[in-house]
Symmetry: C2
Subunit: 243 residues, 2 copies
DNA sequence: CGGTGTGAAAGTTTTCACAGCG
DNA sequence: CGCTGTGAAAACTTTCACACCG
């Protein structure tokens, strides 16, 4: 509804967008959604950046990859920018997701409401353990992995989540790809070997803690004379300046 | 034990190490540990890189930030390199961790064995809900958040995990910092505002899925004529070439 | 004004290429 | 030989700075 902006943010003509930019896009969107719920109608690149620990220029450059969304002298309209970001990230449409592996973590993820917020829906869970098949968790009945290909095809599922132990992950990934998914979130602590057209995002909780233990350790040693031994940023900038 | 290498990999004299390098270090370590269990004694930069989808030069440059670990003509000895990496990342020592928020996800993380592998141990869990306090999960009894400062001080805990809903996360983060932790893993989908000396790693599961939906969407559009619209890499390179 | 969009400059990370070593 | 370690070049990302707009 309402008016479209000058060059509505469709996909970049041909320029390639760095992954780190797409990651920040998600952070902008998350913040914008919070601001809109709080009743804020517009925001400037400087304000948005400050909330996340980025510069105003970076926010504008990032958005510039996708189009022109702002109003000089005013900033960005939250509602418009949210819609544009969701179009870009693909979350204006509902994404059905299949999960493989219904252990502790898998069960927790089945109950996690945060996915729904961004239009992801876990539509089925699979497990190799016959004792688990038929059980229900948060309204989802566990199916046998053998049923994966049929389900994925029938429901046009494009995304899968791997929540099995490390030694089973590659086999499960191969099954997901054979079944036809295009993208995988891998919670198992192994690197998957897959055809390059398959998109993979890895989440390794032990590695996240390791990054912290390094940062915390080297900050101490820094006290012993030198400079802080880490620069740049990755997944979640977090730690914005204490406003 | 056994002989130390030429310039043993201690902390970089003063050069700052990019975060992305530290992240790859964790991936190298994970792979090395797997290789060693499989009985492999040495590995070259090219082999290690190939397993993770990196170039040989990148592996050598990354290691070069911390010292000289290799043997020309041979490669790296897995056992030595593992020890060096763990020294650098800080995981040769045991890290006690406190968790705040014992909902679905928190309970699952309490039962997650993957942390132990890298020497992290969740030593206590806290929740604001009086109904949860006193309950036990995986041998850990839930405590009242009020007891956090005393516990952190008494057990010299330096790391905390936030597993509460978004609207409680900032308050919990402030409590953790007041209690004295130096680093935080934040699973809540909000950006925390904290003093800059506090290290924060953010894990937002919805954002991971969003990165996938973007990648999967733009790969499709790529079929419509242009170049792939993403470059570089972030958290987990994953998807190594199908060996 | 206050703020966007964007080329050009600065800074950072990756790749190249090769001397040197066991 | 095969492979490391490392300067130098290339590629990429961020910051700067300013024309332009409402």
């Amino acid at each position: 509804m309402t008016d479209q902006r000058p060059i509505p943010g469709e996909i970049p003509s041909d320029a390639t967008v760095p992954k780190v930019v797409v990651n920040r896009l998600s952070l902008y969107l998350r913040e914008l959604q919070r601001l809109e719920s709080a009743g804020q109608a517009t925001i400037s690149s400087g304000q948005l950046g400050a909330l996340l620990g980025f510069s105003d220029a970076q926010v504008r450059k990032d958005l510039g990859f996708f189009g022109q969304f702002g109003y000089p002298g005013v900033g960005y309209r939250c509602d418009e920018l949210i819609k544009a970001m969701r179009d870009i990230l693909g979350t204006n449409q509902l994404w059905p997701v299949v999960m493989v592996g219904v252990g502790n973590l898998g069960q927790a993820l089945l109950g996690y409401r945060g996915f729904v917020r961004q239009n992801f829906q876990i539509v089925a869970a699979f497990d190799a353990d016959p004792a688990k098949v038929g059980q229900s968790y948060d309204g989802i009945t566990v199916r046998a992995v053998e049923d994966l290909p049929a389900f994925v095809k029938e429901h046009a599922v494009r995304l899968g989540m791997i929540v099995v132990p490390a030694d089973r992950a590659q086999e499960v990934a191969d099954r997901l790809v054979a079944a036809g998914v295009d993208g995988i979130v891998n919670f198992a602590p192994v690197t998957l070997t897959l055809p390059p057209q398959i998109q993979v995002v890895a989440v390794d909780l032990a590695i996240e803690l390791e990054q912290l233990s390094f940062a915390v350790t080297s900050r101490l040693q820094m006290a012993a004379g030198a400079e802080p031994s880490t620069a740049s940023d990755e997944s979640g900038p977090e730690t914005a300046p204490p406003a």
